[in-house]
Every structure is written in structure tokens, then in C-alpha cells.
């Protein structure tokens, strides 16, 4: 398992009209081995941007991000090797529509890890059985429900045997009755000791599984603490307002 250290990371975006948007301002955050850290906060607070800097989908302007001690912002670091070790699950699933569920899962292990097809497929079937979707292996993603698609997306990331997992609002695009099936899988994963960094609005999940909750607003970490502390008595007014709104 891996340790993710985010140190003084800042990320700006330039708008079309030339104005600069400070999406993430000088944020530091540590996820220890096997820890589950949940980032919460209002939309536009830079949560997703921060998460995306961790596997290099966004490049931060300053600061450093260390995964198992390797600085991914160092020019000499091969970012692709880091990405192999850090799985990511997206809000919109992003499954490959032209491939079957099984091929979606085996693509990266075969291309990147150079696994044989048999080996990759065996592994994929095991993982699919774990999330209860073994019978869907040969269907196309579009034939599955949203919850099923997201579970396949989690399996796709797990097939690379990552040391850490990033979740970018994994349940936000789902119908209420499908959220549970995805959260159950994530909970199972958290209990198995996976290092996880999540952006989510599922406070129930944060309560049940998180070791630490981080509240972000306007690109900054306003407050962080254990779920009990955060939800019972938030210290800052900003966090109080947000939690009142959402709970």
C-alpha cells in the first residue's frame, strides 16, 4: 500500500477572458498507508482538481506530490509508472463503449503490465465475481445500469493491482437506489486496507469508512479531522454552513 503526500500544491486555470482562477491554493494533505481520506466541500472548491493532480491528469503549478516517496512532479519521474500504481474511478464511469466488460478490464493489464490474456481474464473474472457481476462479463457497458457500470469501472481500476485508489464523486451520476451497490463495493475495498482518497457527497460513507475528513472551500483546506469531530462539531463557520446544508 502506498502513502500519498500532497505538499503545498497550487493549481491555476486561465479562463477564456484571460482572468486567472485559483482552483487549488497551497493545499497540503497526507493519506497514510491503508487510510481512507474523504474530501468534502461545495462545488467549485477545487476538490476534483486536487484529486486529479495526484495522478497527473492535471499538472499543478507549484508544490510537490509524493506517492511512496516518489515525487510525481519531478521531471525525471515517469508519470506513467505512477499511474499504473494509482487507480482512478470517475463520476461518469468512462468505460470504453466499444469493448465488452471483460475487455474493458483486461485492456490495461495486457497492454501496460504485459499480462497474458488468460491470466488477465482469470483475474478479471475473479474481480467481477467479487462485485457480483460475473454474468455480465461479455456484455457491452451500454447494456448495464449506471451502478453496474460504476462497479465495472472500479474493477477495471483494481485489475491493475493499484497501491492506492482515487475516487472522483463516484456516486454523483447515479440514481439513489444504485448508489448503495457502489458504496458497498467501496466499503469492502476500504475494509480490505486499500489506501483511498475520495471526493464524495456521501456523508454516510464518510462516517462508516473514513479515517479522516477534509473540508475544502474556495481552493483551500478549511478544516480536517476524524468524521466524528467533523460531523458532530465543526470548528469553522464555513464548514458548519456546508454541513447544515447537506446533512
Amino acid at each position: 500500500m502506498a502513502k500519498i503526500e500532497i505538499r503545498n500544491v497550487s493549481k491555476d486555470f486561465e479562463n477564456n477572458n484571460g482572468t486567472i482562477l485559483h482552483a487549488v491554493k497551497n493545499v497540503s494533505l497526507t493519506v497514510n498507508d491503508g487510510e481512507v481520506v474523504v474530501i468534502i466541500g461545495p462545488s467549485g472548491s477545487g476538490k476534483s482538481t486536487l484529486l486529479r493532480t495526484v495522478n497527473g491528469l492535471e499538472t499543478a503549478q507549484s508544490g510537490s506530490i509524493l506517492i511512496d516517496g516518489i515525487d510525481i512532479m519531478d521531471k525525471d519521474t515517469d508519470i506513467r509508472q505512477v499511474r499504473e500504481e494509482v487507480g482512478m474511478v470517475f463520476q461518469s464511469f468512462n468505460l470504453f463503449p466499444h469493448l465488452s466488460v471483460l475487455d474493458n478490464i483486461t485492456l490495461a493489464p495486457m497492454k501496460v503490465r504485459k499480462m497474458s490474456r488468460n491470466e488477465a481474464e482469470d483475474k478479471a473474472m475473479d474481480l467481477l465475481a467479487m462485485v457480483g457481476l460475473a454474468d455480465k462479463a461479455h456484455q457491452k457497458p451500454t447494456q448495464l445500469s449506471g451502478g453496474q457500470q460504476q462497479r465495472v469501472a472500479i474493477v477495471r481500476a483494481l485489475a491493475m493491482e493499484p497501491k492506492a485508489m482515487l475516487f472522483d464523486e463516484p456516486t454523483s451520476a447515479l440514481d439513489p437506489e444504485m448508489i448503495k451497490e457502489v458504496l458497498d463495493v467501496m466499503l469492502k475495498l476500504a475494509k480490505s486496507g486499500m489506501t483511498m482518497l475520495l471526493v464524495t457527497h456521501e456523508m454516510g460513507f464518510a462516517r462508516a469508512a473514513a479515517d479522516k475528513v477534509v473540508f475544502m472551500a474556495d481552493g483551500e483546506v478549511v478544516e480536517s479531522g476524524t468524521p466524528e469531530e467533523m460531523f458532530a462539531n465543526p470548528k469553522t463557520q464555513r464548514a458548519k454552513d456546508f454541513l447544515n446544508h447537506i446533512l
Binding site: N55, L57, G87, F96, L107, V112, K140
Partner: protein, 292 residues
């Protein structure tokens, strides 16, 4: 009596349907509740491609196709001295026409893929080069380009006429094909690239395993359409002394001075060919959709 009617409170229409009924009585122009589908205007150079669901188009396709066949057959049967002879003479141009069309479309797809990838690349130099190529080709008439490239190629390297014509056609159509493929690539959601990147796939792996297969599906119908256009525009190579259908027709005219009759036969041959092709493209599209 009058009092009674006045005392009666007016019954208000309750349902939407009742309201509509009243409205339709009052207003001469009936009010449509059904939402209008947004109109999509698609302009293609090739003939329209009829699909099963499109009854109107299938009917007009049938009428045109069988009409053309009947006219051609009648002409050949009832005046074999003129038309059968013309037909026999011009039909020998079909191999050349097809050779040009098929090889040029392959060349155009190849050039188009390179240009399409180039113009959707983030590299500014590559992007500019592709942009200039597309602008150049689109701004010059096809006939002028063909002649220019033919003579330019001829003065640089000694190649057969048909090869030069195919290269010239490929370059001309490659620009349009490039635009089609660029649009196809850009229609693939950004999340697809992100997902592949996050899984650790390299740029080329992402392109060949994720982007390209999805792009092909999107652009195939448009390429089919270009194929039909290419069949028609290949007639331009007749000016390059290649004996395609049109050139054979012109040769026949210069011998017999039967201009109108010959051109009629040439037109009918082209019409029948393009109509057959459009139907084939339609079938291909349907199969593609069925396979998901």
C-alpha cells in the same frame, strides 16, 4: 329560457384535451402539442443514402434506380444500332473508374487519418501544417488541383498516368477526409482519454486501443458518402487521358458525333452505379448499428 341559460354557470373545460378542442375550433391554425424534433440539415455531395427506416427515401431510391435501368434497357433493345453500341463501348471504362475510385479512397483515408490526427493534435507546428493543407485544398477547384498535381507529378517523377491520377485524387480528397476524421476524433468524450491515461496507457496505446476504434464507427457512414462522391468525381480524371467511363464516351462522340445519345448513356451508367453504392453503404450502416 334566456334566464335559464344565463343562470347556468359556464362549464369550464377541465382537461388539456378539452382545451385543445376549443382552441382548435377558435383558431384556424391547429395547435400542435407534439414537440418538434430539431431539424438537422445534412448536406452531402453523394446521393442520399436510403435506410430501412426511411420509407420515403427508399421509395424514391427504387423509382430512380429501376427507372434508370428500364430506360437504359429500353434504349439498348429498341435502338441497338445506336445505344447498344454506345453502351458496349463506354462500359469498358468501368474498370478504370473503379480502379481510380477504390485506390484513391484508400489513399484519401490514409492521408485523411494523418491529417485528422494532426489537426486534433496539440503540437502547434503539426496542427498548422494540417490546417494549411486543408485550407489549400478546399480553396482550389478539384479540376484545377487534379491537372496541376498531374503535371507536377509528371515533371518530377515518371509514373503511369493512372497512378498520378490516383495520387492526385487522394491528395484532394484527403483534406475532406481529414476534416471528417478530425470531427470524429473530437466527438469522442474527453473522459475516454482520461480513463485510458489514468490506467497507465501510453499516448499511442490510448490512440490505437481507445480513440481509433470509436472514431472508425463514427466516421464510417461519412466515408461511405465520400466513396460515392469519389466515384462521381473520378470522372474528372478523363481529362488526364485516362480511359474511364466519361473518357470512353468522349472518344465515341469524337468518332460518331452522337453527343446527346452518348452522354445520356454515360449519365445513366453513373447514376446506376452510384445508386447501387448508396444502397450498399446504407446496408453497411444498418449492420454497424445492429452490432452495437
Amino acid at each position: 329560457m334566456v334566464k335559464d341559460t344565463i343562470k347556468q354557470p359556464p362549464t369550464l373545460p377541465k382537461t388539456e384535451g378539452e382545451l385543445m378542442e376549443i382552441r382548435n375550433k377558435v383558431v384556424s391554425n391547429p395547435f400542435h402539442t407534439t414537440k418538434k424534433e430539431p431539424t438537422v440539415i445534412s448536406m452531402t455531395d453523394g446521393v442520399l443514402i436510403p435506410k430501412k427506416g426511411n420509407k420515403h427515401l427508399v421509395t424514391s431510391w427504387r423509382l430512380t434506380f429501376f427507372g434508370a435501368v428500364v430506360v437504359l434497357v429500353c434504349l439498348c433493345v429498341f435502338d441497338p444500332d445506336t445505344y447498344w453500341k454506345i453502351f458496349k463501348y463506354t462500359i469498358t471504362g468501368i474498370p478504370t473508374t473503379f480502379e481510380c475510385t477504390i485506390f484513391a479512397i484508400l489513399g484519401a483515408v490514409l492521408i485523411g487519418t494523418i491529417t485528422g490526427v494532426g489537426s486534433s493534435s496539440k503540437n502547434r507546428v503539426v496542427n498548422q501544417i494540417c490546417g494549411i493543407y486543408v485550407e489549400l485544398i478546399r480553396g482550389i477547384p478539384l479540376l484545377v488541383q487534379l491537372m496541376f498535381l498531374y503535371y507536377a507529378l509528371g515533371s518530377l517523377i515518371h509514373i503511369e498516368g493512372i497512378v498520378a491520377a490516383i495520387i492526385a485524387l487522394s491528395i484532394c480528397f484527403g483534406a475532406y477526409m481529414g476534416e471528417i476524421i478530425r470531427a470524429g476524433i473530437q466527438s469522442i468524450p474527453k473522459g475516454q482519454v482520461e480513463a485510458a491515461t489514468a490506467l497507465g496507457l501510453s499516448k499511442s496505446q490510448t490512440f490505437f486501443s481507445v480513440i481509433l476504434p470509436q472514431t472508425i464507427k463514427v466516421v464510417l457512414p461519412a466515408i461511405g458518402n465520400e466513396f460515392i462522391s469519389m466515384l462521381k468525381d473520378s470522372s474528372l480524371v478523363s481529362i488526364l487521358a485516362l480511359s474511364d467511363i466519361l473518357k470512353r464516351g468522349r472518344e465515341y462522340i469524337s468518332r460518331t458525333f452522337l453527343s446527346l445519345q452518348t452522354m445520356l448513356v454515360v449519365a445513366l451508367i453513373y447514376l446506376i452505379l452510384t445508386l447501387i453504392l448508396s444502397r450498399l453503404v446504407g446496408f453497411m450502416e444498418e449492420r454497424l448499428h445492429k452490432n452495437g
